[in-house]
Symmetry: C2
């Protein structure tokens, strides 16, 4: 096991508090060898004989190397303290709480002797404390790594999202997920439409989702320049808060100039999530480049949209938190 760890360990700013040996060992081998996330610290607290999640959370909140804290918990033993810590945390906290159902709670009891508690009450308390709740292990990692790479955003109750895609179908599925997540499909400004329109064939109107396929066909020799130009336009649009980009990774298409793309994104300070498809090895390369350049990639549209929504959900809460917690 040690060998596998050494070979793949990626440094990062996500730290984890987990009540599961698997999550602090086997699962880390998985996420590391798939190149999706780097970690700072992982603490497995088992059945909490001497320390519990609140002790570790308090430490991680003060640890300068931990920017996002993810938790897998089977119980929350000092509930009031834990919720207080979450509420005042300047850092995002993501929680997967095992034992939401009767049978899950029973399994938690036999695993770590944890009393899982009434999940409706826990859900409400976590939400009020600005915690982002998830249901699955990879989802926990996906939301954490997204929050770790996101730029600071202004809180908005209904952020406007632009979609750049090569597929009309994907644009539709993106739109459905965006609307269902409580975000909005952005209305692009006239300037943006005009800039993108230059890339388009005449018969194609510019809308959002931006379906770049006809533009790609029209500018075949320009390669992925159309993506750059369209991305530049939506990044500059004051009516756009975040951008979903669909990329297709294929050896026959030439490399995606990731560094330039990342430079654009960083300068604009808007969150960008990539839905990445394509050939296995090429996907792996882009995934790694995305991680290095702080642009998260995803293999499912639904998850990509969920993670974008988490960025704004967290921002909304953290601002409320700073406004309401005046010096005491």
């Amino acid at each position: 096991m040690a060998r596998a760890f050494e070979k793949r360990l990626l440094p990062g700013s996500v730290s984890l508090i987990v009540q599961s040996g698997m999550l602090s060992a086997g699962f880390l081998v998985d996420i590391m060898s798939h190149g999706v996330m780097g970690v700072s610290k992982v603490c497995s607290i088992g059945n909490k004989l001497d320390i519990d999640e609140s002790d570790v959370l308090s430490y991680l909140i003060h640890d300068p190397k931990s920017l996002v804290i993810g938790c897998y918990l089977e119980s929350i033993v000092r509930g009031q303290l834990f919720i207080d810590l979450c509420r005042r945390s300047p850092k995002p906290i993501v929680v997967l709480k095992g034992g939401r159902t009767g049978k899950g709670a029973q399994a938690a009891w036999s695993h770590t002797a944890s009393l899982a508690g009434n999940h409706e009450i826990i859900r409400g308390a976590l939400a009020q404390a600005g915690v982002i709740e998830v249901k699955d292990f990879k989802e926990l990692m996906d939301v954490c790594r997204t929050l770790a790479s996101a730029p600071p955003v202004l809180p908005k109750s209904r952020p406007n999202i632009a979609v750049l895609t090569f597929s009309g179908g994907a644009g539709i599925v993106f739109s459905d997920f965006i609307e269902e997540s409580g975000m909005a499909v952005a209305e692009l400004s006239p300037e943006t439409k005009e800039k993108i329109g230059r890339l388009f064939p005449e018969w194609m109107p510019v809308g959002n989702p931006v379906d770049l396929f006809p533009a790609l066909e029209k500018n075949r020799s320009a390669g992925l320049l159309v993506v750059h130009e369209a991305l530049k336009a939506v990044l500059a649009d004051p009516q756009v808060d975040g951008i979903m980009v669909h990329l297709f990774a294929a050896s026959f298409r030439g490399p995606i100039p990731f560094e330039e793309l990342a430079t654009q994104v960083k300068a604009a300070g808007k969150p960008v999530c990539i839905w990445l498809l394509g050939e296995r090895d090429e996907v792996f390369k882009i995934q790694n480049e995305g991680r290095i350049h702080g642009i998260p990639t995803f293999v499912e549209i639904g998850r990509a949209v969920e993670c974008m929504a988490a960025i704004f959900k967290n921002a909304r809460y953290r601002l409320d938190c700073c406004v309401s917690t005046q010096p005491e």
Copy 2:
């Protein structure tokens, strides 16, 4: 593009009707190069100038090489006919309907001039016709490939699921998803508990989820024999309808004897879904072996449970369908 196709094309029994060039080209490169699914036929019907989804559906229902039919649709133009075909189909049909929301419908209009329709009504009609509805592209493929490899099962309103895992935490998350999906965490029979108990250290009671970690520690020299023995026991248990298995793929652990495992599963005729974690290259190997041997593998617990639930949902409907559609 052709080269990528040739290199990776996998034969299979899933056929697709799609209203998206991406799904009949780019996305197929992705699922093929990742080794997750083989396909028989794919038909992209665009804006349906001369044929529509009902024409193709009718063809695929009669095509002996297509065992499962997956659809990505932006509209359903001859609604009554389509629903009738689905209702009488002896084969499972899985539908991703784009344009569930206002903005999604608007995007569908600009993509293929499709009138997406009122999704509440469509959802109800699809459900009554035994169609399994999904929301994302990979989810469409995951449900299709699972149904393509599943043995025929007896319909049960609340199927009982056994979970074999190496992680107490995973067992809990499995239990939560199983209960939330409308299935049940199986009560194992006394015989099964006794058989599995022989593998366990004395201090460990046998429950479901079956946490095999202590058994693995106790029988270190036996490698994955404990998984085989436990699997044999739950496959033989009349109180168990389906089994979720957690496997960890790692070079340091030696190969998983997949052929033996698949032989056991085939003989028992019960559906088994594997949640697969581990080192990237090893995961890829096992994923491919799983596909070849007809045991689907998944990288998320939630998706694995959803796909297991789809098997029983489909069986429940197909029997109702056969019972109620006497010769006309």
